[in-house]
Symmetry: C2
Subunit: 166 residues, 2 copies
Amino acid sequence: MSDFSLESVDVALSPLARFEEFLQSRGKRMTQQRRLIVDEVFSRHEHFDADELLEMLAQTSGRGKVSRPTVYRMLGELVDAGLLRKMDLGGRAVYEHDYGYPQHDHLHCQKCNKLVEFHSEELKKIRDAVGREHRFRVNGHRLIITGICPECSKARKRRSRPLDLV
Amino acid sequence: MSDFSLESVDVALSPLARFEEFLQSRGKRMTQQRRLIVDEVFSRHEHFDADELLEMLAQTSGRGKVSRPTVYRMLGELVDAGLLRKMDLGGRAVYEHDYGYPQHDHLHCQKCNKLVEFHSEELKKIRDAVGREHRFRVNGHRLIITGICPECSKARKRRSRPLDLV
DNA sequence: TTTCATGCAAAATGTTTGCACACGA
DNA sequence: TCGTGTGCAAACATTTTGCATGAAA
């Protein structure tokens, strides 16, 4: 019936190379900070927000190597370049890999805030059918299924915790 | 194959009555401001944010009848009471009727920011199948299909406008 | 007459911007 | 060098909070 698994997608260029291409096409420059950020962002496949990225950078490259405004500016550029996808979750922006990663959606645990990815070909069909029905030119979609993950279900009811992403 | 239309749902109590019930169940009180807000919110079926509600209140009930913090507090309560649904869209919270309104999702026009509702029974099936697959206890979901609405498609390319919800 | 709700002002977030200096091409 | 990028500090936008006052029940 359906296939909810996620494979990765082959890409010709590394994220960094792809980003350099993007920069060139816009007459922008590769810098020390941009390199650090791209490396950091693609060093692991996880969801993160601006604060977390800043913290990761601090740990890997040293405090103050990249400033907060630069991180925010870069996140926007990485989204424009097609390397990252952005989503709004509970009032803040959360990012994940887009380049080299297949289309997918998320299960969101309301207790521990974990995000689990899944893929559904059927969903895409529905999406396109709905788009056609309303004569929208569809560019994409975002589906978040909210609920309680198995781990949190098991744990005897405890107080819900403040936001902290995995 | 699918049915993307939206009917309304019969409910026994008016939103106000339903909210009073909710308040009582929590030992809270019905006040002048809460009444004004519930009336305003359910006076038309549209998506709105805190600022817009505040503005609507100012026009209907007079400036300063309800303060900004009260509006924010009430929005939270209305969500808790099941009268409103909240969604994050472009960094701010947008609300819509939940009580007396069937489950649905949205098409979002990236040009004019219009939100169009649709319903899909199939989507719910996928959602539940995915939940089962990952052993999530599913509580709900949020799907936003992004694209360009027919009106904006027709209009010869113009500069994208700043945010302004319908 | 006892809570609970409100308004005010201030604070807390999360994100963006102006500008002088630093740096990549 | 020339123009772009960066960091800093400040501005912003949105939402939340502490606290004294006001109003339901």
